[in-house]
């Protein structure tokens, strides 16, 4: 049996807004296997992004435990959590979230500055990642000189540059046209299939979700049904 890459145990998260408490996740339990591509679906406010942020160590739960890529996140200090993120998780955001003052190459190289790699090695890794996403000829362009699809592909290159085990994508095709969205989804499928990355993608879009191997449904902060679309070896194209 494949080992769980992500294990969520009894996680609760409550936000306070305008003096009212809003329980976004309610004693949620979930396991995700290593090397599998998951889509996380659910209506707005169901807790999808909150769960993604908790799994990525960007936020902390009020209750419960999170085990991701071999670490119990609750046991890590703020600095240890940052270090863990740098080596274990890659993020892809809906709004691309590239640093506008850096070129595509510099954006991809940025997380590599946290590694012990030499400058030449960083260059090699960043160039390789950009070529992998088909942007070898756009390395020195600033984000505003790229199309939305190209920006998202740079963001994916940045997410994989330091070779993390887990890629967390929050509505990665939400701001893209269908053609660009398909290119991004194909890339994620390729990363899962060829490089065995565990991918968790939040999406509203059933078409996007169909690229995953499993669809996890969330509703009102609780786990709904899990659809198994296909086995790991046969991801959609």
């Amino acid at each position: 049996m494949t080992e769980a890459m992500i294990r969520v145990k009894g996680v609760t998260k409550t936000y306070k807004r305008g003096g009212e408490s809003l329980r976004v996740l309610d004693r949620l339990g979930l396991e995700m296997e290593e090397g599998r591509f998951y889509a996380l679906m659910g209506p707005s406010g169901s807790g999808k992004t909150t769960l993604l942020n908790l799994i990525g160590g960007l936020d902390v739960p009020d209750e419960g435990d999170l085990f991701v890529a071999g670490e119990n996140l609750a046991e890590l200090s703020s600095a240890e959590l940052a270090h863990w993120r740098s080596r274990s998780v890659g993020f892809v955001f809906q709004g691309f979230n590239l640093i506008p003052v850096l070129s595509a190459f510099e954006n991809v190289e940025l997380p590599l500055k946290l590694t012990p790699l030499s400058r030449a090695e960083r260059r090699q890794h960043a160039e390789h990642a950009l070529k992998l996403v088909g942007l070898g000829d756009r390395m020195h362009h600033r984000p505003k000189q790229l199309s939305g699809g190209q920006e998202q592909r740079v963001a994916i290159a940045r997410a994989i540059a330091s070779d993390p085990k887990v890629i967390l994508a929050d509505e990665p095709t939400g701001d893209l046209d269908r053609k660009s969205a398909d290119q991004v989804l194909e890339l994620l499928v390729q990363l899962n299939r060829e490089f065995k990355k565990t991918i968790l993608m939040v999406t509203h879009d059933p078409h996007a979700a169909n690229h995953a191997q499993s669809i996890v449904h969330l509703d009102k902060g609780q786990l709904g049904r899990i659809e198994e679309l296909r086995p790991a070896a046969a991801a959609a194209r």
Partner: protein
Amino acid sequence: MASFQLVWRNLMRRPLRSLLTILSLAVAIFLICGLRSLITTLNAGVAAADNRRMAVMSKTGLFVELPIKYQATLDRLPGVEMTTKFQWFGGYYRSQKNFFAQFAIDPANLFEMYPECKVSAEEQAAFLGDRTSCIIGDVLASDFGWKVGDNVPLIGALHPHPDNKAWEFRVAGIYHSSAPNFDNRTMFFHWDYFEKTLEANGVTPGVGVFSMRVAQGSDVAAIKLAVEQAFEDSEQRVACETEADFQRQFVTMFGNIPLFVGWIGGGVVLAILLASINTMLMSMREQTVEIGIQKALGFTDGAMFGLLIAQALFLCLVGGGLGIAVAALTQAPIATWMAATFPGYAITNGTFAFAALVTLLLGLAAGAVPAWRARNLRCVEALRGMD
């Protein structure tokens, strides 16, 4: 550690804002250098004063003259080696705007009493040998283009010439002062010429200040007491001060200048600090989402603190460095420009170091608030653009 590339690119995000902040900092640090130099220049005379020289003046004040005969009494007092008269002439060259100091003195003792007054032996001899001659400071000579052998006519505003004409002085030598307590923009001429010319009109001049040199190892306090007691029952009582105290009187004559200048300097620093903090807060606000991105990528809270501090430091060090450089480059022209009213203006190494320290502290203080906020920003909130 903050990447210089990111620091630079973030500052160049709004080049005009960064440039204006740098220029404001440059002006502020330039002013700090200038203001502090006014104080150090004033105090330089006090610091460089010779501890064997003392000044004797009227107890009433500097503008009340003492009788010439007092010099003989002073010369006889135990511990006094030599004396010279100093009398303010108050003349001007062609126009009243051509102001500079002129003193009638006893030439025989001047060079021995003031070894910091450097003049060649040849010119010294020429000065001593001609009672209508004068020596002038090299800065004064340069200002008016005078050279040895020139005749300098001065209108005696305080001491008009008996024949209602200009006083004529031949430049016998040009001196250079090796110490800040001896001005390079002054004229010294013979007391005899001054006295004899005035006496032709029945006027007996008085003496503004007697300068005395006391013997090595003398008890200065005892001599001061002896001098003041010697004239206790005379027509003019006197005050006797060490040269340092005498110089200090000039510094305090205009009020508490160091305090006044300190207030202005403090105001300048506070104003630029607030402006720099504002710039850095605006910069940090623009970078809020990017701070969230970098934290998501694995940069620590401390790294974000460092990034913002580095930006503030870079801005301040460039601005402050520019201000210091401009202060250094303009030192000579400013010294010339202020020579008449503020002789000896110079920026000391201590002032440069002080300006560098202020620059560094400004950078740290300007960056501290935004850096602390960046450090404490929660990643998810920063990604939503909430600062």
